[in-house]
């Protein structure tokens, strides 16, 4: 949407390689819809390595403490490679190139023909990133969000507090049993769907490919709609390079959809789950 030079306001270490990065950019913050992302350069100079910007989902709108007006965006960044390593070591005051907000966000129940009363939000680790703004929007529409939040271990379950402050139900799980139920996040979700065989539930998922695939399969099994927030390596983030595609069975004549433009949020039935894009 906009290409801006923005300043880092704060970098908060959340443990286990996760960081919350606050970027000052009121103009971009005002445009954000739940599920959108920014393309952020990881180093100060445009021509410096790593060259390509990285896509990060917008976790929250950073608001001015006094006026409450949008002042910037908060991004959840996990160190996974060269780019993110450089980014999380950035200092407050440093300038970065920031393109956004980009992409197609979540469909809110107010845009849908069928009635939705309950939304199951399913997150795996940093897949929590797009779900806070979604949960807030759902609450404003009087839809009940339930957060199913899973990770390998308790340290992966970052940023639970903002969800707790919303007062919504949170069901956690860890593979090592260090927090919540032991096992995968899809197990409590499957249980919930079993004991609530209703048609007014909608699923929203973000996390590892295998997790989203399992949530999609549960949605199909229960004849529910499911939206997934996808991840892909991106070249440009603005729809030109065609590098970030995901394979799609439904799109006739268009077997590939761009994660940056047609996504990052897509109906899970638009995704071919047998071809992992990363």
């Amino acid at each position: 949407m906009l290409d801006k030079k923005v300043k880092i306001k704060a970098v908060r270490d959340l443990g286990a390689g996760n960081h919350l990065i606050v970027i000052a950019s009121p103009e971009q913050a005002r445009l954000v819809r739940p599920g959108q992302f920014v393309m952020l350069k990881c180093v100060e100079n445009t021509g410096e390595n790593p060259l390509l910007r990285r896509p990060f989902t917008i976790f929250n709108i950073h608001r001015n403490a006094r006026s409450g007006k949008p002042a910037g965006v908060e991004l959840l960044v996990k160190e996974v490679g060269v780019g993110t390593r450089r980014l999380v070591s950035a200092r407050p005051g440093q300038t970065l190139d920031c393109l956004g907000p980009q992409g197609h966000g979540f469909q809110l129940p107010s845009d849908l023909p069928s009635r939705v009363t309950t939304a199951c939000l399913v997150a795996g680790g940093v897949g929590i990133a797009p779900l806070l703004l979604l949960a807030e929007s759902l609450l404003a529409l009087r839809v009940k969000p339930i957060l199913f939040y899973g990770g390998g271990t308790v340290a992966d379950l970052v940023l639970r507090e903002p969800f707790e402050r919303l007062g919504i139900d949170i069901i956690t799980s860890t593979e090592d049993g260090s927090h919540g139920e032991r096992g995968l996040v899809t197990e409590p979700l499957a249980q919930f769907l079993r004991i609530h065989p209703r048609k007014d539930i909608r699923l929203y998922a973000c996390g590892p490919w295998g997790m989203m695939r399992a949530v999609h399969e549960l949605a199909v099994g229960h004849d529910l709609q499911c939206e997934v927030s996808l991840e892909a390596r991106m070249g440009c983030g603005l729809g030109a390079c065609l590098g970030c595609v995901v394979a799609s069975p439904a799109a006739e004549g268009r077997p590939y959809l761009r994660v940056c433009q047609d996504g990052p949020v897509m109906n899970s039935r638009l995704v071919r789950w047998d071809i992992e894009p990363v």
Binding site: G47, L51, G235, C236, A240, C241, L242, C244
Partner: protein, 318 residues
Amino acid sequence: MKPNPNDRAPLKGPRLGVEIAGVHFKNPVMTASGTFGYGLEFARYMDLNAIGGIVVKGLSMKPIPGNPPPRVYETASGMLNAIGWQNIGAAEFVEEKLPGLRDYDTNVIVNIVGFELEEYLEVARFLNDHPGIHALELNISCPNVGKGGFHFNKDPRDTHRITAEVRKASPRLPLWVKLSPNVTDIREFARAAEEAGADALSVINTLVGMAIDVRSRRPRLRFRTGGLSGPAIKPVALRMVWETCQAVRIPVIGIGGISTTEDALEFLIAGARAVQVGTANFYEPAASERIALGLAEYCRSHRIDDIHEIIGSLKDYE
């Protein structure tokens, strides 16, 4: 002869215009095929009127789905891609994209692709009749498709043949031929294209490369290999542009890792009539505009009246 005062209008700044096959370009900066979509994607990030031309994403007659992902991977000072010619097809381009592009004061060059000779001819014939297209760029050098295009760049005789045939199929449009660097001597291919009637040469396409994920031991790209682009390939591209300029008389358009004004100047000094900015568009959407403005600024500050004073001005050691 008395100089015409209109020829030298110092207040208007340096003359950056160049001519390629009878077509005037307001400045020698364009965007490279595959890195700029159909152009309109960038309109909100830069002034499309500020550059000499836009080379749109390679088009075939029928839409091509492209390769399964992953398709891109960043490497040191560059990136690998194996998109596989995904495009909407020439008919949809002419219908949906070209009218919007014609609103801008810049030249539109269409890169054309095909798996077989006849497919190239079909799209060349189709585009020949459409107003608003200033040239065709024949893509016989993409390394990311199983067969076809690439094949025509393995033997200079094939390059000659396809160039001559496409030349006949689109008599109205200037024909540029985009050459591959994945050859032993690019000059043979450059001469073959020139002899067959090419009006200009675009040099170079991507270099074939590879990256492996050591954890999974799989290639980073599902196509296994991909085209390397970005600043990493600039020295190779510059050498090939320089070599090509020695070998042919037709204009050469320099491509390969150009991301700064200085990069563009290097290619112009080596003999390129114009340049195309590629991968830089991905990480700096307004890169081409910045480079065009940078060339004007360079000429002003070095008291150069005309960009032709730079083109081919390479000096040798004493």
